[in-house]
């Protein structure tokens, strides 16, 4: 399976859905700052990885997948919820990358220029996340090819 860009998917996103994401993202960012101010950076830092936008995003994924299937004359609810599960699985892989992002930022921030530390952390997140996704895909590919091939006696 190849990774694809489907720009037409943006057309399915309605203006109020974009506003909702800006609202959730903005509130999460402000709330994280306020938590850090009230309880200190140790507790505040935890909330830098709070899945504030995930419930809204997952609900939108379900809605879009359901609408797509309905246009094709199907109910599509089960399929839409499977799509959400797949998206959550991807987020689980990405969260390992997020832990590495935080680790790199923690170690590099006091040692060099901020931009370099943030860039290295961002690059680490992307590399680790994509690598985990790719490794899982390869393992799954091998497993399914083993199960298809006839057993040699």
């Amino acid at each position: 399976m190849v990774v694809k860009f489907e720009l037409s998917a943006l057309k399915r996103t309605k203006w109020y859905e974009v506003l909702l994401r800006i609202l959730f993202g903005g509130v999460a960012t402000v709330a994280t700052g306020m938590i850090a101010k009230s309880f200190g950076p140790i507790v505040g830092g935890l909330f830098l990885a709070f899945p504030a936008i995930f419930p809204a995003s997952a609900t939108l994924v379900e809605k879009h997948e359901k609408e797509k299937k309905q246009r094709a004359g199907m109910n599509g609810l089960a399929r839409a919820r499977s799509a959400v599960a797949l998206e959550a699985r991807g987020a689980a892989m990405g969260s390992i990358g997020l832990a590495v992002f935080a680790l790199v930022a923690w170690k590099l921030l006091p040692r060099g220029p901020t931009w370099a530390a943030v860039a290295a952390a961002g690059l680490s997140w992307l590399t680790i996340s994509i690598s985990i996704w790719q490794i899982r895909r390869l393992i799954r590919g091998h497993q399914s090819s083993w199960s298809r091939s006839p057993r040699s006696s």
């Binding site: 800006i22 993202g25 899945p51 936008i53 609810l77 599960a85 892989m93 930022a105 996704w133």
Partner: protein, 116 residues
Amino acid sequence: MEGLKEILFRFLVGGLVVSIFSALGDVLKPKSFAGLFGAAPSVALATLSLTIASNGIAYAAVEARSMVGGAVALLAYTFLVTWVMFRYTPSTLLVAAGLLSTWLATALGIWFFLLK
């Protein structure tokens, strides 16, 4: 007034960064790959520079250290959402919002046993 300006600035930057990562998740296929962007460091990217500007590098580094714990909690949360959605296919909003308590419990557990 200065405080209100900072809140508004954080709101706009946070909203914009989160929306960009969400849009990336929308256009990417397959779904499991798009999901990687559901765990993007969007809030961290939006706030780290602002935190350094107002509180200094040492403060931001402490936040980053705690964020490792938050990311572990995110792994627990997303793993559980995946399992429940595949196993029972219930309402997405109910599961995704209801299980946020898992994130909170895991994060507070990490804070209590490892970071406090």
